[in-house]
């Protein structure tokens, strides 16, 4: 974006202030107003420079003083923003685009039950969970997981299953989902937790064969895990 450089500010001795809104003018003596020396071109298509100095940057010495002042208790758990939950979960795997917007539109009906804000913000987004929002969350997580694991060619054009390995490689796929959805490194995953999730996948095998669909309940469970719900 090209900026037109403001060359100078001129103090005028007699000026009439034209207030910025239409049809309202008020005569005011002068030097309290600054007059721009910009050329007043009606065809101007450049932004005026913002005439404010920038704020400061990091000051290690002062910051050390802040760090030296202790807190009385730890941070509280934070509920991820209900209005952004579905988008953020999807964006861990998918880029913005038509299909993502369509998928979000499909879970829109659950947004208010999830605790989202009303259009006019008279209802603020919920900051904690209740039974309704938790159940709505389960449904949304399930829908999102279905779209990630078993995308439908008509509903989700251009999307393939996010599983990095063949469905039969349950251990690797589960670890992948847990890493992405919980924001953990593989080394930080608890082996017992991984086994539990693997068991869920196996429990939903189709006639003894693990398919992409078998991962939906496990994916939903991971999305509802405390580590993903509360930070």
């Amino acid at each position: 974006m090209k900026m037109k450089v403001r060359k100078s500010f001129l103090l005028t001795t007699k000026c009439t202030l034209l207030l910025t809104f239409v049809g309202f003018s008020l005569s005011v003596p002068s030097a309290c107003r600054f007059k721009s020396s910009l050329i007043d071109s009606s065809d101007s298509s450049e932004l005026e420079e913002i005439p404010f100095a920038k704020a400061g940057s990091e000051n290690s010495l002062s910051l050390a003083g802040v760090y030296a002042t202790s807190m009385q208790s730890a941070p509280a758990a934070v509920r991820p923003d209900p209005d952004l939950y579905a988008r953020r979960l999807l964006k861990q795997f998918r880029a913005d685009g038509n299909t993502l917007a369509r998928q979000l539109g499909q879970v829109e009906q659950y947004r208010l039950m999830l605790g989202g804000a009303s259009d006019d913000f008279r209802t603020a987004p919920q900051e904690s969970y209740d039974a309704t929002s938790l159940l709505a969350l389960q449904k949304v997580a399930q829908k999102i997981c279905e779209s990630l694991l078993t995308p439908d060619s008509s509903l989700h054009p251009g999307w393939n299953s996010v599983l990095p390995e063949a469905p039969a490689n349950v251990q690797a796929n589960v670890k992948f989902l847990m890493r992405k959805m919980l924001g953990l490194q593989e080394s930080a995953l608890n082996a017992t937790a991984v086994s539990e999730i693997v068991e869920i996948v196996n429990a939903f095998a189709d006639k003894g064969v693990v398919v992409a669909q078998s991962y939906v309940p496990a994916c939903t469970a991971v999305a509802l895990d405390a580590e993903a719900l509360l930070l």
């Binding site: 910025t20 910051l63 009385q72 934070v78 861990q92 006019d120 913000f121 953990l184 930080a188 608890n190």
Partner: protein, 549 residues
């Protein structure tokens, strides 16, 4: 599947204990990434950030410089300001003198044809302009909401809506899908919803742009400063359909709109020159229309920008005609402060009166400081420490998930001092909290604080470290020679408060000092003065007042 899933509810709650305990900073890395960047950290980021203190600080710094920070801050400010607009308010802005019908804005319906061609036609089929055309007569156009997209329309559409369709309203059949379309990334689009979203978010857009561009956070209230994104730019240039007079926009803004392309998804700061009746977020259409009455506008800013609430013991029996609320017992507790504060908004009409010609300003005061315009109010708020403390309160709650506790007053003051000393850098404030040893711990506490810290005091100048007054100040010797930088405006024959005599300075010196100390006065200062005539005058007056109480 559903029955099986239901069984999972029980399992879900048993999972938490199995997830391994993280290294101390691992959890805070995820939290920082979510709250400051809107995403989970990658493996390599986790490795680096959990590896060392420097690694973590570098990671937080990278989050604050990322695109995700803009999105997070936009949402943060959306919640802080609580501004949202129902669609009726958009309809109010449409001209009603075009065709005397309820359909004010030419609307296009767009859809994908079986041939996979995206085509747009007139929504109303009973209009002269709706004559359809054969497929062979359709022309390709490049719409403004997504680069590279090609739509096919009849010549009448191109003629009426422009080569990029920006002069008409656009709808796609799936409104839910369009609701979640991100400008520039999707074919589907709903211009009405997009404009409404941008109008609603404009106040948040100003504050976000100020924070991201690292201007002093006090500038969110700066007269003549606003922010516009691509959707608003397109909307405000639809002069045929939008009754721009209702929005009281400046000529300068209208000229600068052309520099903001429709594809600009982020809010860009636009400076329109001095304007005594505007004050950044407080005079956005969203704030003024959402908070319709002047008392509501004042109440909301008192609560949202200064973290203070009006509360008073109401009389047991309400008098039928309470008279002057500012003086009536039981009412005056709030209204003695609230009503004069509301008077700063006097030029702006209330409710639908917002669209009428602005009214006259009123001489009024807030926390003992007088003024008549929103620019004056902006100066008063920015020069009061309650604003800085309140900003710290909000930022702390956002990142920590809880309020300050009673025993954390020193911490709040320490963060406030750091924020003020960084010339109100919101980025630095976020960095200071997100890298504080208390943020990085692995444990979590209860969000319900039973001993919250009291609301910030008002009337205190935010100046953490004042030098001692070592010289005895004499008004004629030390102050009089410096006041010409004020008296060009503040003279006896001007509408501003005169600042010519020692009596004037005795009465108004404290207010002048607070405004000079944060760079609000005289106009044109580039931040808080640290040397030069303004600094010398401020220090001389401060010490003179201290020595002559």
């Amino acid at each position: 599947m559903n029955k099986k899933l239901a069984r999972l509810c029980l399992l879900v709650f048993s999972l938490a204990p199995f997830v391994s305990a993280e290294a101390a900073s691992g959890r805070s890395v995820r939290r920082a990434a979510q709250l400051l960047g809107g995403r989970m950290p990658s493996d390599s980021e986790l490795s680096t950030a959990t590896g060392s203190d420097v690694g973590y600080r570098t990671f937080v710094r990278s989050l604050i410089s990322s695109n995700g920070f803009y999105d997070s801050m936009l949402r943060y400010h959306e919640k802080q300001f609580g501004v949202g607009l129902p669609s009726e308010y958009l309809e109010e802005l449409q001209r009603d003198d075009i065709d005397n019908t309820s359909q004010k804005l030419a609307t296009l319906n767009c859809t994908r044809l079986p041939s996979n061609r995206l085509s747009c036609g007139w929504k109303n089929t009973d209009k002269k302009t709706t004559a359809s055309c054969k497929a062979a007569e359709q022309q390709p156009v490049a719409p403004y909401w997504k680069q590279g997209l090609v739509l096919w329309v009849c010549p009448s559409v191109t003629y009426a809506c422009g080569a990029n369709l920006s002069k008409c309203s656009v709808e796609f059949p799936n409104s839910n899908e369009a609701r979640y379309s991100e400008a520039g990334t999707t074919d589907v689009f709903d211009s009405k919803r997009s404009v409404l979203k941008s109008l609603s978010r404009q106040a948040a857009g100003i504050a976000t742009a100020v924070a991201v561009e690292n201007y002093p956070y006090t500038k969110i209230l700066a007269p003549g400063l606003t922010a516009v994104d691509g959707m608003l730019s397109v909307f405000l240039q639809q002069k045929s359909f939008v009754d721009l007079e209702k929005l009281h926009l400046s000529d300068s803004l209208m000229k600068q709109l052309k520099a903001i392309p429709a594809s600009q998804s982020k809010f860009t700061l636009v400076y329109t020159g001095d304007s005594y009746e505007t004050a950044g977020v407080l005079t956005t259409f969203g704030w003024l229309r959402r908070y319709e009455k002047n008392r509501t506008r004042a109440n909301q800013l008192y609560e949202r920008l200064m973290c203070r609430k009006f509360s008073s013991e109401l009389p047991r029996v309400f008098p039928q005609d309470p008279g002057n609320l500012r003086t009536t017992p039981g009412c005056s507790g709030c209204h003695a402060t609230l009503d004069p504060l509301a008077d700063f908004f006097a030029v702006w009409g209330e409710g639908g009166g917002l669209y009428s010609s602005p009214g006259a300003s009123k001489q009024t005061s807030f926390i003992g400081k007088s003024g008549s315009s929103l620019a004056d109010l902006s100066n008063i708020i920015a020069a009061d420490e309650a604003f800085a403390t309140c900003t710290v309160n909000h930022a702390f709650e956002w990142l920590m998930g809880r309020k300050f506790r009673q025993g954390e007053s020193t911490l709040r003051q320490s963060l406030t001092d750091y924020f003020v000393s960084s010339t109100y850098s919101f980025k630095e404030l976020m960095f200071a909290i997100a890298t504080h040893p208390g943020f990085v711990v692995d444990t979590r506490s209860d969000a319900n604080i039973t001993d919250p810290l009291e609301q910030p005091a008002i009337g205190k100048v935010p100046e953490p470290s004042l030098p001692a007054c070592q010289t005895t100040i004499d008004f004629n010797t030390h102050i009089q020679p410096l006041i010409s930088q004020c008296t060009s405006c503040h003279s006896a024959n001007s509408p501003r408060q005169a600042l010519e005599t020692s009596a004037h300075w005795k009465a108004w010196g404290a207010q002048a000092v607070s405004m000079m100390s944060v760079g609000q006065m005289p106009p044109g200062l580039q931040g808080a003065p640290v040397a030069g005539n303004v600094y010398n005058l401020k220090e001389a007056v401060r010490c003179w007042l201290q020595q002559n109480p």
